[in-house]
């Protein structure tokens, strides 16, 4: 397979990010039903259909090169978006190994890994990188292993340390987050960093999810989808840069809503790390504008119903309140009220 990258598109300034029809079709639309509510929607992260975002452990798509450049810009402005506590060094190497092995196996024309004992050679063709290094020796890489590999893989990443029957967010590469701060959350436990989520605590969601994850086995990763909405195709929607993007929420009008409002879906993966017994949490984001989604009327109808019935607490938590009605009004013209059945398929 080969991917036609769009190296010049941007996620800030003129926002030249666009999805091809292929990218829209494979968008991980997250709503199987007309109403949305929290659930422990975790399933085994097994190989999905060819071409789908579930095909590989780490999905690389047409936005790869541009997203990696946007990450580099964000890190240049704020190096604190990548942090790792000292006891996480084995987990950093685990992460590098998992990502390099997965990419080289799943995209052999783009990435290559040669291992000769601890002597490793890595080739990343899309970014034009070649690196020979000694596995386990930080001094042989240009930066620490977790930062090195996550500058080359789409999605945000957290590594959790497992101790005292809990998971602690002790490392992170976070440059495309839905309004949460690594600087604030690093070192927190599972329940602490989920503290702000409404409703789900009373439903026992986090308690069950944590017990399940503590038993996660190596070689048997799991995944789930999460979602929110973003104005403009912007990756860096962090609390630290809120003044740059927060006011955009007030700029949505009936004329520009199809262009400006994006459904932001996170394909979240969880992988047990073998040598550290830690857990890699990958947060792979996808952005599709309402115009993009409306090219598949079933999705436009579904999203119209989900937004209409979304509980207010969730709309507030996800930051949709100011433009939700404008989006619902725009989507209404696609919705003939037909029974859509269950499922997330585009047709």
């Amino acid at each position: 397979m080969s991917i036609a990258f769009k190296p010049d598109e941007t996620f800030r300034g003129d926002y030249s990010y666009r999805n091809s029809p292929v990218a829209i079709r494979r968008f991980p639309f997250p709503f199987p039903q007309d109403q949305y509510m929290y659930s422990v929607n975790i399933e085994p992260h097994t190989k999905g259909p060819a071409g789908s975002v579930f095909e590989n452990a780490f999905d690389i798509d047409e936005h790869y090169v541009a997203e990696m450049r946007d990450r580099a810009i964000t890190l240049e402005r704020d190096p604190g978006r990548c942090m790792s506590l000292p006891h996480m060094i084995d987990a950093e190497w685990d992460t590098l190994e998992l990502i390099m092995e997965s990419l080289a196996r799943d995209y052999p024309d783009l990435f290559q890994l040669h291992r000769d004992g601890a002597r490793w050679s890595w080739i990343n063709r899309p970014l034009g990188l070649e690196q020979t290094f000694t596995f386990g020796d930080v001094a042989t890489l240009p930066c620490p292993p977790f930062e090195y590999i996550t500058r080359q893989c789409q999605g945000d990443f957290v590594i959790m340390d497992q101790r005292d029957n809990d998971l602690w967010a002790d490392s992170g590469m976070i440059t495309s987050q839905a309004d949460w701060s690594l600087m604030f959350d690093v070192g927190m436990s599972f329940k602490e960093w989920h503290g702000p989520v409404p409703l789900a605590h009373d439903m026992g969601i986090f308690e069950r999810a944590l017990k399940y994850l503590l038993m996660l086995q190596q070689g048997r990763p799991v995944r789930r989808l999460n979602w929110t909405m973003t104005i403009n195709p912007r990756l860096d929607t962090s609390p630290e840069t809120y003044p740059e993007w927060g006011p955009d929420r007030t700029t949505v009008t009936p004329d520009n809503v199809g262009d400006k409002v994006h459904l932001r879906v996170e394909l979240q993966g969880l992988f047990r790390l073998p040598r550290s017994n830690g857990m890699l949490f990958s947060i792979r984001g996808y952005l599709a504008s309402l115009n993009d989604l409306a090219t598949h009327p079933r999705w436009a109808k579904r999203l119209h119903r989900v937004l209409t019935t979304l509980p207010n607490e969730l709309a507030e938590y996800k930051g949709l309140v100011r433009y939700r009605q404008t989006a619902i009004d725009w989507l209404a013209k696609f919705d003939d009220g037909a029974d859509l059945g269950t499922g997330t398929q585009p047709e």
Partner: protein, 318 residues
């Protein structure tokens, strides 16, 4: 991403009366994954018609990808697993195993680590000691055994932690005094023990009495092997009747019949696989994290991915 892997027994060594070490290598091509100190694997042993599952700690170097080692003490009153390994197992035989799982991990934020091994309980302590030695952590080992000939891993431990291994030989009336071992330790010290039940209980009691936090006292746990006793199932709507064998979950057995059953997480957390129980002539064994106490008591629901019936027949509305 398979749930099991096949290994070959490449070497068997008798270490002491009733203690055997087995070296395992991947059957066919490929190499093992690395693992973390304190991990165990589950062996499927061919005892009669049904495989018998036993958990054993990996005792070698966690970074060794070609050979894994376990040590087995022959339990005369066992269900047969250790006896099979001592009497029937031969070099060259192939076995299925579940990949490593760690329910006895080291705490990487710990400042000092005290490892205690009793008898064959030394096996997970060995891989933990190797990991601590590799990362240059501050640790010490206390190794207790029945007689001099049973200290079978003394040399390996000494090589890992020269001068930091303390031996206690029961036949010489030496034993670990947990009150003194655990008192006066600096904050940030973690304690790990694997050994006979009485020894573990004594150490925990000493720790609690001295005010150690629960989160700093660790003893070995194994993952309960999947499966359980066989039982019969009737599917009312699909009109099927079959037996769920010990090595399959109820959900897997339903899937083998070609019947579509709901599922998502396959670990008892999400609630998707819930089915209505129409009749159960036996005790429902609920292993899920989902059903409330009231729902369990009603006997009307079961999560098929992890739960089972003890004896008799289960009739489901599917």
């Amino acid at each position: 991403m398979s749930a099991s892997m096949q290994v070959e027994i490449t070497r068997i060594r008798d270490l002491a009366p009733g203690i055997r070490e087995f070296s395992l290598s991947p059957a066919g091509e490929g190499s093992f994954p690395v693992y973390s100190g304190g991990s165990h694997i589950v062996l499927s042993l061919p005892l009669g018609a049904r495989p018998h599952r036993n958990a054993y700690s990996l005792l070698g170097d966690p970074n060794e990808r070609h050979t894994w080692r376990i040590a087995v003490r022959k339990q005369e009153d066992s269900r047969g697993g250790s006896r099979w390994l001592h009497e029937q197992a031969r070099e060259g035989m192939k076995l299925d195993i579940a990949p490593p799982m760690n329910l006895f991990p080291l705490v990487r934020t710990g400042r000092r680590h005290i490892l205690v091994a009793g008898g064959i309980g030394v096996t997970p302590i060995l891989s933990q000691a190797r990991e601590l030695a590799r990362i240059g952590a501050d640790f010490e080992v206390h190794y207790a055994y029945r007689g001099p000939e049973f200290g079978v891993f003394s040399d390996e431990l000494e090589a890992l932690a020269p001068g930091r291994v303390h031996h206690y030989v029961q036949s010489r009336r030496e034993q670990i005094e947990f009150r003194s071992l655990l008192s006066g330790r600096p904050l940030g010290t973690h304690f790990y023990i694997c050994g006979p039940a009485g020894m573990v209980a004594a150490s925990m009691e000493a720790g609690h009495t001295l005010g150690w936090p629960e989160s700093h006292l660790h003893s070995e746990q194994f993952l309960a092997p999947a499966g359980g006793e066989a039982f019969d199932v009737k599917l009312a709507k699909s009109d099927k009747q079959f037996t769920v064998p010990s090595e399959l979950s109820l959900l897997e057995a339903i899937e083998q019949q070609g019947v579509d059953a709901p599922y998502l997480c396959r670990g008892g957390a999400c609630g998707q696989c819930e089915l209505e129980v129409l009749e159960a002539s036996g005790e429902l064994l609920h292993h899920d994290l989902y059903l409330s106490a009231a729902e369990r008591a009603s006997g009307r629901k079961i999560m098929t991915c992890v739960s089972r019936l003890k004896g008799g027949c289960l009739t489901l509305n599917l």
